[in-house]
Symmetry: C2
Subunit: 435 residues, 2 copies
Amino acid sequence: MGYKGSSENFLNKSDVSIGDTVLIEKNDVSYEGILLDRSEDADDGCIVLKLDSGYNIGVNINNATIGLIEKGDKPKISYKPVNIEYDDKKLDISIISTGGTVSSIIDYKTGAVHPVFTAEDLLRSNPELLDLANIDVKALYNILSENMKPEYWVNSAKSIADEVTSGADGVVVAHGTDTMHFTSAALSFMIKSPVPIVVTGAQRSSDRPSSDAHLNLINSVGAAKSEIAEVTVCMHSTLNDDYCDLHRGTKVRKMHTSRRDTFRSIDFEPLANVKEGKVSYLLNDFKKRNQEDLVLNNKIEEKVAIVKTYPGISSEIINYHIDKGYKGLLIEGTGLGHLPENLLDSIKRANQEEIAIVMTSQCIYGRVNMNVYSTGRKLLNAGIISGKDMIPEVAFVKLAWALGQSSNIEEVKNIIQTNLAGELNEKSSTKYFLN
Amino acid sequence: MGYKGSSENFLNKSDVSIGDTVLIEKNDVSYEGILLDRSEDADDGCIVLKLDSGYNIGVNINNATIGLIEKGDKPKISYKPVNIEYDDKKLDISIISTGGTVSSIIDYKTGAVHPVFTAEDLLRSNPELLDLANIDVKALYNILSENMKPEYWVNSAKSIADEVTSGADGVVVAHGTDTMHFTSAALSFMIKSPVPIVVTGAQRSSDRPSSDAHLNLINSVGAAKSEIAEVTVCMHSTLNDDYCDLHRGTKVRKMHTSRRDTFRSIDFEPLANVKEGKVSYLLNDFKKRNQEDLVLNNKIEEKVAIVKTYPGISSEIINYHIDKGYKGLLIEGTGLGHLPENLLDSIKRANQEEIAIVMTSQCIYGRVNMNVYSTGRKLLNAGIISGKDMIPEVAFVKLAWALGQSSNIEEVKNIIQTNLAGELNEKSSTKYFLN
């Protein structure tokens, strides 16, 4: 056991063991859950429970009592070996794991989260993947996606390109959900591919009954076998465990902190649905398999920042980024693409110093149009670049990528305003609002 | 005419007049619209058209030709005087104008936008308001809402309180839409009121056939007569010109750059619908008319900033705000309330220096829960305050207000985490996602 000191004594005096369902009562509150072991030696007076909601909590044992509800089940994850045999009638799909909930296996016996480091680990919990394709798993990173950085996008793009060069018929990228849409946008700009590149993840870990890891993985492998040779995001479509939406990588956003159907196409519709690994195409306007040769262009400028405006914002924040040597600023303005007029002089200064400034809207939906009101026209005159219908996160990634392609401000402006990967659409239909 | 120089010559050589529908052809592009006058003398070689979409554009006359499509109509806005007679059987509703599209009248003859400065101006274009109530109009500001500042919230709250003290049975605040939800949140925290306070605006100016100004004003006066003595936002409910939603002022957000039904209750439902000035209550859980006495508490701390995180963000941006004397930081983190681990030391430093840091999620929908993953628990240990289910903009306003109430960090933390105006709900129903 990882429990030490007072918590070890507390457990030793009770009749419960690791893995049992227990009740802890403390003051007026009671907690029911599975008693987990500690993954490292801990002498902090806390007991860790896995609640029915799937979340782990630590309960301080001060004034607490513990009782047994039910002896522990066997671990839900099977450790029987899987038999991986190459089947030359099946497509070859590579899975690149970068970390996040989808790439983790939680051991009920210990409560520890194990990253997936081998094909065997992942295939043991998802053996159905082998019915769909020959699967090769590469563990590139094991990081939570809030810690994703532009340099990891660069390396991920390289790894994907290597898989394609090595003959993969499709690539699945397992990723944390927090910044998945930043990464899918980055990969969209960095890679032109003859085969599908599908980014997926999970909102609930694979030990939970409500986990979406399994369905998302199955359907991502299905999508990676499809005709859609773009970077897409494949995630739960509804609250039911029935199918996934396949979103264009530049038109998708995480819109809910916890729902499994959190990823939504913004001002656009999903390219396809995927059910039990089978793809139903919803649109025909996508890059087809083998339409393009592989091109990797993963240079990026890291000195790019997001500034969200708010009432009372000081122009000093713009000057700060100029003084710190930032090459690009992504502004999340208000409404049609406005910002407080007190920022205008700093924007002009940035323009004079050849810093690229792109305007998007914190509304999320819709498009910036800086020709409607005088504020917008002043900003255009000050050299600000319209992000049109790009969501802020995609415009941020594109700005960093564009500055990696050129240091000439006019060329950067041209790249920003040219549709490269479905990120810009001349017309937005209102029907996709809040879909 | 405001046209001078080359553009005046260009127009004089044609057969068109101000107010006519004209066609300008230039290179491969043609523009059809109503020829507007310039509001100030302009010699910039540009002609201004009002397009059918309602937007004004400037077209440079280089290589351009202009032709008449149809002679101009009469101005759509009537200038006949309105007869305002006090009717003591009706309620007294005060309209406070702060600016924005809703408070403007556009003159078709000149294309100039006139702010509403008198009751006559506003009632001339919306005479039906007089059927609903005795209307008193005060012009407090005439600013676009992207230029709203915390000090204007303070003054607006004071003006509203003055109207209530003077006997108003309800107050309507006319406001630009860009930052309307920041203002409705600020007023929600600053005023406890025995009568309704309804914030409204328009996405399309009142000269356009699709303008929402009229419907929103009528229904806002209706809402101001209702039993809901809270700060609410009253705006178009759908794309049809049929009714408005009445949103709680702390649970609403502008979600589309241009749609008239852009304002949406987030993780909540509208309190009521309003049609033709008549209120249909959807919930019963609101503060009733005369339930509370008037309390004005409009102190606010202006040294508060929003920082949205993104892949590659430097910890220097946190240190910058600490060094500049900010008292509070509102973080828009990712997912359940995470930020990149490289920011952790700066967060700890902020906490040591008694700067209040509140976590919200850029997902917009859902609630932060920092107990699920290790990242979140580290942040809680570093002293960060959970914004729970507050949207980032509301949490920002509440933080500024809380710091105006107390400089004690524990008291501020307590204020942030206590529901004061419906901004915090212990449970969020999933059914309100993307409503």
